[in-house]
Protein backbone atom coordinates (compact mmCIF):
# COMPACT_ATOMS: atom_id res chain seq x y z
CA UNK A 1 0.00 0.00 0.00
CA UNK A 2 2.73 2.43 0.97
CA UNK A 3 5.92 2.35 -1.02
CA UNK A 4 8.75 4.73 -0.19
CA UNK A 5 11.82 4.63 -2.38
CA UNK A 6 15.12 6.36 -1.79
CA UNK A 7 13.53 9.39 -0.15
CA UNK A 8 15.67 12.52 0.26
CA UNK A 9 14.94 15.93 1.70
CA UNK A 10 17.18 18.91 2.30
CA UNK A 11 16.42 21.95 4.44
CA UNK A 12 19.13 24.30 3.24
CA UNK A 13 22.44 22.52 3.91
CA UNK A 14 20.76 20.13 6.35
CA UNK A 15 20.19 16.70 4.83
CA UNK A 16 17.06 15.92 6.85
CA UNK A 17 16.08 12.65 5.21
CA UNK A 18 18.75 10.61 3.49
CA UNK A 19 17.86 7.73 1.19
CA UNK A 20 15.06 6.18 3.21
CA UNK A 21 13.15 3.28 1.61
CA UNK A 22 10.48 0.99 2.99
CA UNK A 23 7.19 -0.73 2.18
CA UNK A 24 4.07 -1.20 4.23
CA UNK A 25 1.40 -3.69 3.15
CA UNK A 26 -2.19 -4.07 4.19
CA UNK A 27 -2.41 -5.67 7.62
CA UNK A 28 0.94 -4.31 8.76
CA UNK A 29 1.69 -1.74 11.42
CA UNK A 30 5.04 -0.11 10.88
CA UNK A 31 6.64 1.41 13.94
CA UNK A 32 8.74 4.37 12.94
CA UNK A 33 11.33 5.03 15.61
CA UNK A 34 14.07 7.55 16.04
CA UNK A 35 15.34 10.17 18.46
CA UNK A 36 13.85 13.66 18.33
CA UNK A 37 14.92 15.49 15.20
CA UNK A 38 15.84 12.29 13.37
CA UNK A 39 13.53 13.05 10.45
CA UNK A 40 10.43 11.08 11.44
CA UNK A 41 7.95 13.92 11.11
CA UNK A 42 9.59 15.20 7.94
CA UNK A 43 9.24 11.76 6.37
CA UNK A 44 5.61 11.53 7.42
CA UNK A 45 4.90 15.00 6.07
CA UNK A 46 6.34 13.94 2.73
CA UNK A 47 4.29 10.75 2.71
CA UNK A 48 1.11 12.72 3.38
CA UNK A 49 1.97 15.26 0.68
CA UNK A 50 2.29 18.25 2.98
CA UNK A 51 5.87 19.02 2.00
CA UNK A 52 7.35 18.22 -1.40
CA UNK A 53 9.79 15.37 -1.95
CA UNK A 54 13.24 16.54 -3.11
CA UNK A 55 14.36 13.19 -4.44
CA UNK A 56 12.90 9.70 -4.54
CA UNK A 57 9.31 8.59 -4.80
CA UNK A 58 6.31 7.81 -2.63
CA UNK A 59 3.31 5.86 -3.88
CA UNK A 60 0.13 5.27 -1.91
CA UNK A 61 -2.05 2.47 -3.25
CA UNK A 62 -0.40 2.91 -6.65
CA UNK A 63 -0.81 6.70 -6.79
CA UNK A 64 2.30 8.86 -6.74
CA UNK A 65 2.00 11.58 -4.10
CA UNK A 66 3.61 14.19 -6.40
CA UNK A 67 1.81 13.32 -9.60
CA UNK A 68 -1.59 12.33 -8.27
CA UNK A 69 -1.78 14.03 -4.88
CA UNK A 70 -5.58 14.20 -4.57
CA UNK A 71 -6.11 10.48 -5.25
CA UNK A 72 -3.22 9.50 -2.99
CA UNK A 73 -4.43 11.80 -0.20
CA UNK A 74 -7.97 10.49 -0.39
CA UNK A 75 -6.70 6.99 0.51
CA UNK A 76 -4.95 8.31 3.59
CA UNK A 77 -5.88 9.37 7.07
CA UNK A 78 -3.34 11.50 8.90
CA UNK A 79 -2.88 12.44 12.52
CA UNK A 80 -0.24 15.20 12.57
CA UNK A 81 2.05 15.72 15.51
CA UNK A 82 0.45 17.80 18.33
CA UNK A 83 -3.04 17.05 16.98
CA UNK A 84 -3.97 20.39 15.37
CA UNK A 85 -7.68 21.19 15.05
CA UNK A 86 -9.80 24.30 14.45
CA UNK A 87 -10.10 25.56 17.99
CA UNK A 88 -13.23 27.67 17.50
CA UNK A 89 -15.33 24.78 16.17
CA UNK A 90 -17.19 22.22 18.24
CA UNK A 91 -16.10 18.60 18.00
CA UNK A 92 -19.11 17.63 15.90
CA UNK A 93 -18.80 20.63 13.57
CA UNK A 94 -15.11 19.92 13.08
CA UNK A 95 -15.72 16.27 12.25
CA UNK A 96 -18.53 17.19 9.87
CA UNK A 97 -16.22 19.64 8.10
CA UNK A 98 -13.50 17.00 7.68
CA UNK A 99 -16.10 14.46 6.53
CA UNK A 100 -17.32 16.87 3.82
CA UNK A 101 -13.80 17.35 2.55
CA UNK A 102 -13.44 13.57 2.55
CA UNK A 103 -16.29 13.48 0.07
CA UNK A 104 -19.01 12.34 2.47
CA UNK A 105 -22.40 14.03 2.41
CA UNK A 106 -25.93 13.68 3.66
CA UNK A 107 -26.69 10.63 5.79
CA UNK A 108 -23.32 9.01 4.99
CA UNK A 109 -21.64 11.94 6.66
CA UNK A 110 -23.89 11.81 9.71
CA UNK A 111 -23.28 8.07 10.09
CA UNK A 112 -19.52 8.46 9.71
CA UNK A 113 -19.40 11.27 12.28
CA UNK A 114 -21.52 9.33 14.78
CA UNK A 115 -19.37 6.26 14.30
CA UNK A 116 -16.05 7.96 15.02
CA UNK A 117 -17.53 9.84 17.97
CA UNK A 118 -18.40 6.45 19.39
CA UNK A 119 -15.13 4.74 18.46
CA UNK A 120 -13.02 7.50 19.95
CA UNK A 121 -15.17 7.99 23.07
CA UNK A 122 -16.07 11.60 22.30
CA UNK A 123 -19.76 11.52 23.28
CA UNK A 124 -19.20 13.60 26.40
CA UNK A 125 -17.56 16.50 24.57
CA UNK A 126 -19.27 16.40 21.20
CA UNK A 127 -20.85 19.85 21.54
CA UNK A 128 -17.89 21.47 23.23
CA UNK A 129 -15.64 23.94 21.38
CA UNK A 130 -12.29 22.31 20.66
CA UNK A 131 -10.35 25.06 22.46
CA UNK A 132 -11.94 23.96 25.76
CA UNK A 133 -10.92 20.30 25.41
CA UNK A 134 -8.29 18.60 27.53
CA UNK A 135 -5.27 17.24 25.74
CA UNK A 136 -6.59 13.69 25.73
CA UNK A 137 -9.89 14.68 24.14
CA UNK A 138 -8.15 16.97 21.66
CA UNK A 139 -5.92 14.11 20.63
CA UNK A 140 -8.81 11.73 20.22
CA UNK A 141 -10.76 14.33 18.22
CA UNK A 142 -7.87 14.64 15.81
CA UNK A 143 -7.52 10.88 15.73
CA UNK A 144 -11.24 10.60 14.95
CA UNK A 145 -10.68 13.01 12.08
CA UNK A 146 -8.04 10.72 10.60
CA UNK A 147 -10.26 7.62 10.50
CA UNK A 148 -13.55 9.26 9.60
CA UNK A 149 -13.51 7.97 6.00
CA UNK A 150 -12.22 4.52 7.00
CA UNK A 151 -8.99 4.99 5.02
CA UNK A 152 -6.85 2.15 3.72
CA UNK A 153 -3.71 3.91 4.84
CA UNK A 154 -3.26 5.53 8.21
CA UNK A 155 -0.32 7.75 9.13
CA UNK A 156 -0.08 8.54 12.82
CA UNK A 157 2.56 10.89 14.16
CA UNK A 158 2.98 10.09 17.84
CA UNK A 159 -0.60 8.90 18.35
CA UNK A 160 -0.36 8.41 22.11
CA UNK A 161 1.67 11.50 22.94
CA UNK A 162 0.25 13.29 25.98
CA UNK A 163 -2.36 10.67 26.82
CA UNK A 164 -2.77 9.09 30.23
CA UNK A 165 -2.11 5.33 30.59
CA UNK A 166 -5.77 4.37 30.18
CA UNK A 167 -6.13 6.46 27.06
CA UNK A 168 -2.90 5.06 25.66
CA UNK A 169 -4.26 1.59 26.20
CA UNK A 170 -7.50 2.48 24.42
CA UNK A 171 -5.76 4.09 21.46
CA UNK A 172 -3.41 1.12 21.07
CA UNK A 173 -6.31 -1.28 21.11
CA UNK A 174 -8.02 0.84 18.51
CA UNK A 175 -4.94 0.74 16.29
CA UNK A 176 -4.61 -3.01 16.74
CA UNK A 177 -8.25 -3.55 15.86
CA UNK A 178 -7.94 -1.48 12.71
CA UNK A 179 -4.63 -2.92 11.64
CA UNK A 180 -6.11 -6.03 10.01
CA UNK A 181 -7.70 -4.03 7.24
CA UNK A 182 -5.25 -1.17 6.87
CA UNK A 183 -1.65 -0.28 6.27
CA UNK A 184 -0.53 1.81 9.23
CA UNK A 185 2.60 3.81 9.93
CA UNK A 186 3.02 5.16 13.41
CA UNK A 187 5.92 7.16 14.71
CA UNK A 188 6.76 7.09 18.34
CA UNK A 189 9.58 7.25 20.78
CA UNK A 190 7.76 5.14 23.32
CA UNK A 191 9.24 1.70 22.86
CA UNK A 192 6.61 -0.23 24.75
CA UNK A 193 4.20 0.94 22.11
CA UNK A 194 6.15 -0.86 19.43
CA UNK A 195 5.93 -4.06 21.44
CA UNK A 196 2.23 -3.51 21.91
CA UNK A 197 1.10 -2.80 18.36
CA UNK A 198 3.76 -2.95 15.66
CA UNK A 199 4.40 -5.81 13.32
CA UNK A 200 7.44 -4.17 11.74
CA UNK A 201 9.97 -1.64 12.98
CA UNK A 202 12.31 0.80 11.33
CA UNK A 203 14.72 3.03 13.19
CA UNK A 204 15.88 6.26 11.65
CA UNK A 205 18.74 8.40 12.90
CA UNK A 206 20.13 11.62 11.41
CA UNK A 207 17.84 11.10 8.44
CA UNK A 208 19.18 7.63 7.66
CA UNK A 209 17.58 4.24 8.05
CA UNK A 210 19.69 2.40 10.61
CA UNK A 211 17.56 -0.65 11.37
CA UNK A 212 14.69 -2.45 9.71
CA UNK A 213 12.99 -5.64 10.80
CA UNK A 214 10.52 -7.42 13.02
CA UNK A 215 10.37 -6.23 16.64
CA UNK A 216 11.58 -9.67 17.84
CA UNK A 217 14.50 -9.63 15.42
CA UNK A 218 15.57 -6.22 16.60
CA UNK A 219 15.34 -7.23 20.21
CA UNK A 220 17.75 -10.08 19.51
CA UNK A 221 20.37 -7.47 18.78
CA UNK A 222 20.31 -6.42 22.38
CA UNK A 223 23.36 -7.42 24.43
CA UNK A 224 21.06 -8.94 27.01
CA UNK A 225 19.03 -10.97 24.53
CA UNK A 226 18.84 -14.71 25.32
CA UNK A 227 20.39 -14.25 28.74
CA UNK A 228 18.64 -16.10 31.56
CA UNK A 229 17.60 -14.52 34.83
CA UNK A 230 17.51 -16.91 37.73
CA UNK A 231 16.41 -16.27 41.31
CA UNK A 232 17.37 -18.90 43.87
CA UNK A 233 16.41 -19.27 47.51
CA UNK A 234 18.98 -20.37 50.07
CA UNK A 235 21.91 -19.89 47.73
CA UNK A 236 25.11 -17.89 47.93
CA UNK A 237 26.12 -15.92 44.85
CA UNK A 238 29.68 -17.24 44.90
CA UNK A 239 28.49 -20.85 44.71
CA UNK A 240 25.94 -19.98 42.09
CA UNK A 241 28.39 -18.19 39.84
CA UNK A 242 31.02 -20.87 40.03
CA UNK A 243 28.55 -23.68 39.26
CA UNK A 244 26.72 -21.85 36.50
CA UNK A 245 29.85 -20.63 34.80
CA UNK A 246 30.80 -24.28 34.48
CA UNK A 247 27.83 -24.93 32.20
CA UNK A 248 28.78 -25.39 28.58
CA UNK A 249 28.01 -22.30 26.52
CA UNK A 250 27.87 -19.82 29.39
CA UNK A 251 29.94 -16.70 28.90
CA UNK A 252 29.53 -15.01 32.27
CA UNK A 253 27.28 -14.69 35.27
CA UNK A 254 26.25 -11.34 36.72
CA UNK A 255 24.96 -10.81 40.21
CA UNK A 256 21.72 -8.83 40.28
CA UNK A 257 20.69 -9.06 43.96
CA UNK A 258 22.12 -10.98 46.87
CA UNK A 259 20.86 -11.07 50.45
CA UNK A 260 20.43 -13.54 53.28
CA UNK A 261 17.30 -15.11 51.78
CA UNK A 262 18.02 -15.40 48.09
CA UNK A 263 20.29 -14.47 45.24
CA UNK A 264 19.39 -13.41 41.79
CA UNK A 265 21.73 -13.61 38.82
CA UNK A 266 21.82 -13.08 35.09
CA UNK A 267 23.49 -15.77 33.03
CA UNK A 268 24.84 -14.51 29.74
CA UNK A 269 25.40 -17.12 27.02
CA UNK A 270 28.30 -17.09 24.57
CA UNK A 271 27.29 -15.43 21.35
CA UNK A 272 27.90 -18.25 18.96
CA UNK A 273 25.00 -17.56 16.69
CA UNK A 274 23.20 -20.61 18.03
CA UNK A 275 19.92 -20.29 19.80
CA UNK A 276 20.39 -21.11 23.46
CA UNK A 277 17.06 -19.83 24.51
CA UNK A 278 15.46 -23.04 25.77
CA UNK A 279 18.56 -25.11 26.26
CA UNK A 280 20.27 -22.74 28.65
CA UNK A 281 17.32 -22.31 30.97
CA UNK A 282 16.90 -26.07 31.07
CA UNK A 283 20.56 -26.62 31.92
CA UNK A 284 20.36 -24.06 34.69
CA UNK A 285 17.27 -25.78 36.03
CA UNK A 286 19.05 -29.13 36.26
CA UNK A 287 22.16 -27.55 37.72
CA UNK A 288 20.10 -25.83 40.44
CA UNK A 289 18.27 -29.05 41.23
CA UNK A 290 21.55 -30.91 41.55
CA UNK A 291 22.87 -28.26 43.92
CA UNK A 292 19.67 -28.32 45.98
CA UNK A 293 18.75 -24.71 45.43
CA UNK A 294 15.13 -23.72 45.37
CA UNK A 295 14.25 -21.95 42.12
CA UNK A 296 11.70 -19.19 42.52
CA UNK A 297 12.26 -17.46 39.21
CA UNK A 298 13.74 -18.58 35.92
CA UNK A 299 13.22 -16.70 32.70
CA UNK A 300 14.89 -16.03 29.42
CA UNK A 301 15.31 -12.35 28.55
CA UNK A 302 13.97 -11.60 25.06
CA UNK A 303 16.16 -8.55 24.85
CA UNK A 304 15.01 -5.00 25.23
CA UNK A 305 14.14 -2.73 22.38
CA UNK A 306 15.34 0.35 24.19
CA UNK A 307 18.84 -1.16 24.57
CA UNK A 308 18.93 -1.76 20.84
CA UNK A 309 17.51 1.68 20.17
CA UNK A 310 20.09 3.33 22.37
CA UNK A 311 23.02 1.39 21.01
CA UNK A 312 22.02 1.99 17.39
CA UNK A 313 21.18 5.66 17.66
CA UNK A 314 24.01 6.74 19.94
CA UNK A 315 26.79 4.83 18.17
CA UNK A 316 25.72 6.47 14.95
CA UNK A 317 25.98 9.93 16.47
CA UNK A 318 29.51 9.29 17.71
CA UNK A 319 30.49 8.01 14.27
CA UNK A 320 29.07 11.15 12.77
CA UNK A 321 31.11 13.41 15.01
CA UNK A 322 34.41 11.68 14.35
Amino acid sequence: MIKVENLNKWFGPNHAVNGVSFNVNKGEVLGFLGPNGAGKSTTMRMITGFIPVDEGSITIGGFDIDEDPIKAKSLMGYLPENAPAYSDMTVTAFLRFIASLRGLSGSDRTIAVEKVIETCFLQAVRHQPIETLSKGFLHRTCFAQSIIHDPEVLILDEPTDGLDPNQKYEVRNLIKRMSERKAIILSTHILEEVDAVCSKVIIINNGKLVADGLPTELKKRSAMADSVIVKLNNAKYDDVSSRLEGIDGVDSVMCLIENEYFCSARVIPKKTGENYQNGLAEKIYHEANDAGWEICELKTDEGRLDDVFRSITTSDVSEGTK
Binding site: K73, P84, Y86, M89, R102, G103, C142
Partner: protein
Protein backbone atom coordinates in the same frame (compact mmCIF):
# COMPACT_ATOMS: atom_id res chain seq x y z
CA UNK B 1 -16.19 18.87 -10.82
CA UNK B 2 -18.81 18.20 -8.16
CA UNK B 3 -15.90 17.42 -5.85
CA UNK B 4 -14.48 20.88 -6.53
CA UNK B 5 -17.76 22.62 -5.77
CA UNK B 6 -18.41 20.59 -2.61
CA UNK B 7 -14.85 21.17 -1.37
CA UNK B 8 -15.12 24.91 -1.92
CA UNK B 9 -18.52 25.09 -0.27
CA UNK B 10 -17.31 23.01 2.70
CA UNK B 11 -14.45 25.46 3.27
CA UNK B 12 -16.77 28.44 2.80
CA UNK B 13 -19.26 27.11 5.34
CA UNK B 14 -16.54 26.35 7.82
CA UNK B 15 -15.09 29.86 7.47
CA UNK B 16 -18.48 31.52 7.88
CA UNK B 17 -19.04 29.36 10.95
CA UNK B 18 -15.71 30.63 12.32
CA UNK B 19 -16.67 34.26 11.64
CA UNK B 20 -19.93 34.03 13.52
CA UNK B 21 -18.91 31.75 16.35
CA UNK B 22 -16.34 34.32 17.48
CA UNK B 23 -17.07 37.94 18.39
CA UNK B 24 -14.99 39.14 15.41
CA UNK B 25 -17.94 39.24 13.03
CA UNK B 26 -20.25 41.11 15.40
CA UNK B 27 -17.62 43.62 16.48
CA UNK B 28 -16.73 44.23 12.86
CA UNK B 29 -20.35 44.72 11.82
CA UNK B 30 -21.20 47.08 14.62
CA UNK B 31 -18.09 49.19 14.15
CA UNK B 32 -18.58 49.27 10.40
CA UNK B 33 -22.17 50.46 10.76
CA UNK B 34 -21.36 53.06 13.42
CA UNK B 35 -18.45 54.44 11.43
CA UNK B 36 -20.32 54.59 8.12
CA UNK B 37 -23.05 56.54 9.92
CA UNK B 38 -20.58 58.84 11.59
CA UNK B 39 -18.58 59.54 8.43
CA UNK B 40 -21.66 60.04 6.29
CA UNK B 41 -23.51 62.42 8.57
CA UNK B 42 -20.79 64.17 10.53
CA UNK B 43 -17.76 64.30 8.24
CA UNK B 44 -19.47 63.88 4.90
CA UNK B 45 -22.04 66.55 5.62
CA UNK B 46 -24.92 64.47 4.27
CA UNK B 47 -27.58 67.05 5.15
CA UNK B 48 -25.53 70.15 4.28
CA UNK B 49 -25.02 68.84 0.74
CA UNK B 50 -28.76 68.88 0.25
CA UNK B 51 -28.49 66.33 -2.55
CA UNK B 52 -30.55 63.19 -2.89
CA UNK B 53 -27.61 60.82 -3.40
CA UNK B 54 -25.19 58.73 -1.35
CA UNK B 55 -21.95 60.43 -2.42
CA UNK B 56 -21.08 61.37 1.16
CA UNK B 57 -21.78 57.78 2.18
CA UNK B 58 -19.61 56.06 -0.44
CA UNK B 59 -16.84 58.67 -0.20
CA UNK B 60 -15.49 57.13 3.00
CA UNK B 61 -15.84 53.49 2.16
CA UNK B 62 -12.30 52.86 0.84
CA UNK B 63 -10.87 54.48 3.98
CA UNK B 64 -13.04 52.41 6.28
CA UNK B 65 -12.22 49.21 4.38
CA UNK B 66 -8.54 50.05 4.60
CA UNK B 67 -8.72 49.52 8.37
CA UNK B 68 -11.50 47.03 8.73
CA UNK B 69 -10.99 44.53 5.92
CA UNK B 70 -7.40 43.65 6.90
CA UNK B 71 -8.72 42.91 10.39
CA UNK B 72 -11.01 40.30 8.86
CA UNK B 73 -8.46 38.94 6.41
CA UNK B 74 -5.41 38.87 8.65
CA UNK B 75 -6.31 35.60 10.34
CA UNK B 76 -7.33 33.67 7.24
CA UNK B 77 -3.99 31.94 6.68
CA UNK B 78 -1.73 33.07 9.51
CA UNK B 79 -4.02 31.43 12.04
CA UNK B 80 -3.90 28.16 10.08
CA UNK B 81 -0.14 28.36 10.01
CA UNK B 82 0.22 29.27 13.67
CA UNK B 83 -2.08 26.56 14.99
CA UNK B 84 -0.77 23.86 12.65
CA UNK B 85 -4.13 23.26 10.99
CA UNK B 86 -2.52 24.14 7.66
CA UNK B 87 -0.95 20.67 7.82
CA UNK B 88 -4.36 19.16 8.38
CA UNK B 89 -5.98 21.12 5.56
CA UNK B 90 -3.31 20.42 2.97
CA UNK B 91 -3.15 16.71 3.66
CA UNK B 92 -6.86 16.43 2.92
CA UNK B 93 -7.81 15.73 -0.68
CA UNK B 94 -8.30 19.40 -1.52
CA UNK B 95 -6.24 21.63 -3.80
CA UNK B 96 -4.74 24.91 -2.63
CA UNK B 97 -7.02 26.74 -5.07
CA UNK B 98 -10.15 25.20 -3.63
CA UNK B 99 -9.10 26.21 -0.12
CA UNK B 100 -8.18 29.75 -1.21
CA UNK B 101 -11.43 30.25 -3.12
CA UNK B 102 -13.49 28.78 -0.29
CA UNK B 103 -12.01 31.18 2.20
CA UNK B 104 -12.25 34.14 -0.18
CA UNK B 105 -15.91 33.47 -0.93
CA UNK B 106 -16.67 33.24 2.79
CA UNK B 107 -15.06 36.65 3.30
CA UNK B 108 -17.07 38.05 0.38
CA UNK B 109 -20.33 36.72 1.83
CA UNK B 110 -19.51 38.28 5.17
CA UNK B 111 -18.61 41.67 3.66
CA UNK B 112 -21.73 41.54 1.51
CA UNK B 113 -23.79 41.00 4.62
CA UNK B 114 -22.16 43.97 6.37
CA UNK B 115 -22.68 46.19 3.38
CA UNK B 116 -26.31 45.16 2.97
CA UNK B 117 -26.96 46.12 6.58
CA UNK B 118 -26.43 49.76 5.56
CA UNK B 119 -29.83 49.62 3.81
CA UNK B 120 -31.30 52.28 6.16
CA UNK B 121 -29.13 54.80 4.29
CA UNK B 122 -30.98 53.97 1.09
CA UNK B 123 -34.33 54.25 2.85
CA UNK B 124 -33.32 57.58 4.35
CA UNK B 125 -32.25 59.15 1.08
CA UNK B 126 -35.42 57.84 -0.59
CA UNK B 127 -37.51 59.34 2.14
CA UNK B 128 -35.83 62.72 1.83
CA UNK B 129 -35.77 63.00 -1.93
CA UNK B 130 -35.84 61.18 -5.22
CA UNK B 131 -32.39 59.70 -5.79
CA UNK B 132 -31.09 57.88 -8.86
CA UNK B 133 -31.42 54.28 -7.70
CA UNK B 134 -29.24 53.03 -10.55
CA UNK B 135 -26.36 55.16 -9.33
CA UNK B 136 -26.88 53.91 -5.78
CA UNK B 137 -26.86 50.29 -6.91
CA UNK B 138 -23.67 50.90 -8.91
CA UNK B 139 -22.18 52.62 -5.86
CA UNK B 140 -22.89 49.55 -3.82
CA UNK B 141 -21.35 47.30 -6.47
CA UNK B 142 -18.25 49.54 -6.51
CA UNK B 143 -18.04 49.58 -2.74
CA UNK B 144 -18.32 45.79 -2.62
CA UNK B 145 -15.60 45.41 -5.26
CA UNK B 146 -13.26 47.68 -3.27
CA UNK B 147 -13.95 45.63 -0.14
CA UNK B 148 -13.26 42.27 -1.74
CA UNK B 149 -10.16 43.59 -3.49
CA UNK B 150 -8.79 44.58 -0.08
CA UNK B 151 -9.89 41.18 1.22
CA UNK B 152 -7.86 39.39 -1.46
CA UNK B 153 -4.84 41.56 -0.61
CA UNK B 154 -5.08 40.88 3.10
CA UNK B 155 -5.45 37.17 2.36
CA UNK B 156 -2.16 37.37 0.50
CA UNK B 157 -0.35 39.15 3.33
CA UNK B 158 -1.88 36.67 5.76
CA UNK B 159 -0.34 33.77 3.85
CA UNK B 160 3.08 35.38 4.17
CA UNK B 161 3.34 35.26 7.96
CA UNK B 162 2.10 33.43 11.01
CA UNK B 163 1.93 36.73 12.87
CA UNK B 164 -1.47 38.38 12.51
CA UNK B 165 -0.24 41.84 13.51
CA UNK B 166 2.38 41.87 10.76
CA UNK B 167 -0.21 40.63 8.30
CA UNK B 168 -2.60 43.42 9.36
CA UNK B 169 -0.03 46.20 9.04
CA UNK B 170 1.32 45.09 5.67
CA UNK B 171 -2.13 44.78 4.15
CA UNK B 172 -3.15 48.13 5.63
CA UNK B 173 -0.15 49.79 3.97
CA UNK B 174 -0.85 48.07 0.65
CA UNK B 175 -4.48 49.22 0.77
CA UNK B 176 -3.35 52.74 1.65
CA UNK B 177 -1.01 52.73 -1.34
CA UNK B 178 -3.86 51.70 -3.61
CA UNK B 179 -6.02 54.50 -2.26
CA UNK B 180 -3.30 57.14 -2.53
CA UNK B 181 -1.67 56.02 -5.81
CA UNK B 182 -3.38 58.70 -7.90
CA UNK B 183 -2.89 61.47 -5.35
CA UNK B 184 -0.51 64.22 -6.61
CA UNK B 185 2.07 63.92 -3.77
CA UNK B 186 2.51 60.26 -4.73
CA UNK B 187 2.62 60.81 -8.48
CA UNK B 188 5.01 63.74 -7.94
CA UNK B 189 7.44 61.28 -6.43
CA UNK B 190 7.72 59.66 -9.85
CA UNK B 191 7.27 62.66 -12.18
CA UNK B 192 10.79 64.00 -11.61
CA UNK B 193 12.69 60.90 -12.69
CA UNK B 194 10.46 58.25 -14.20
CA UNK B 195 9.17 58.11 -17.77
CA UNK B 196 5.64 59.31 -18.22
CA UNK B 197 4.21 55.79 -18.67
CA UNK B 198 5.41 54.84 -15.20
CA UNK B 199 3.64 57.85 -13.74
CA UNK B 200 0.51 56.95 -15.68
CA UNK B 201 0.78 53.36 -14.52
CA UNK B 202 1.07 54.34 -10.87
CA UNK B 203 -1.84 56.75 -11.19
CA UNK B 204 -3.89 54.07 -12.94
CA UNK B 205 -3.34 51.75 -9.98
CA UNK B 206 -5.37 54.02 -7.75
CA UNK B 207 -8.58 52.50 -6.60
CA UNK B 208 -10.43 55.82 -6.15
CA UNK B 209 -11.05 56.78 -9.81
CA UNK B 210 -12.34 53.26 -10.51
CA UNK B 211 -14.73 53.63 -7.61
CA UNK B 212 -15.87 57.15 -8.55
CA UNK B 213 -16.95 56.01 -11.99
CA UNK B 214 -19.20 53.39 -10.49
CA UNK B 215 -20.63 55.86 -7.97
CA UNK B 216 -21.83 58.02 -10.82
CA UNK B 217 -23.72 55.02 -12.14
CA UNK B 218 -21.31 54.18 -14.95
CA UNK B 219 -20.32 50.54 -15.21
CA UNK B 220 -17.14 50.68 -17.24
CA UNK B 221 -15.63 47.34 -18.19
CA UNK B 222 -12.16 48.81 -17.47
CA UNK B 223 -13.12 49.36 -13.84
CA UNK B 224 -14.41 45.83 -13.52
CA UNK B 225 -11.27 44.45 -15.17
CA UNK B 226 -9.18 46.54 -12.78
CA UNK B 227 -10.81 45.04 -9.68
CA UNK B 228 -10.88 41.51 -11.05
CA UNK B 229 -7.25 41.61 -12.07
CA UNK B 230 -6.19 42.81 -8.62
CA UNK B 231 -8.24 40.06 -7.00
CA UNK B 232 -7.00 37.30 -9.30
CA UNK B 233 -3.41 38.48 -8.93
CA UNK B 234 -3.70 38.44 -5.13
CA UNK B 235 -5.35 35.03 -4.99
CA UNK B 236 -2.84 33.59 -7.42
CA UNK B 237 0.07 34.99 -5.39
CA UNK B 238 -1.50 33.49 -2.28
CA UNK B 239 -1.48 30.06 -3.88
CA UNK B 240 2.17 30.46 -4.89
CA UNK B 241 3.12 31.56 -1.36
CA UNK B 242 1.18 28.73 0.28
CA UNK B 243 2.71 26.14 -1.99
CA UNK B 244 6.24 27.32 -1.42
CA UNK B 245 6.04 28.13 2.28
CA UNK B 246 4.02 25.28 3.68
CA UNK B 247 6.94 24.04 5.66
CA UNK B 248 8.01 27.19 7.45
Amino acid sequence: MSGTVSNISAVTKKELYSYFVSPVAYVFMIIFLILTGFFTFMLGGFFQRNEANLASFFLWHPWLYMFLVPSVGMRVWSEERRSGTLELLFTLPITAWQAILGKFIAGCVFLFLCLSLTFPMVLTVNHLGDPDMGAILCGYIGSFLVAITFLAISGLTSSLTRNQVISFIISLVLCLLLILAGWPPITDLFVKWAPIWVVDFVAACSIIPHFEGLQRGVIDSRDIVYYLSLIIFSLFSTSVVLRSRKTS
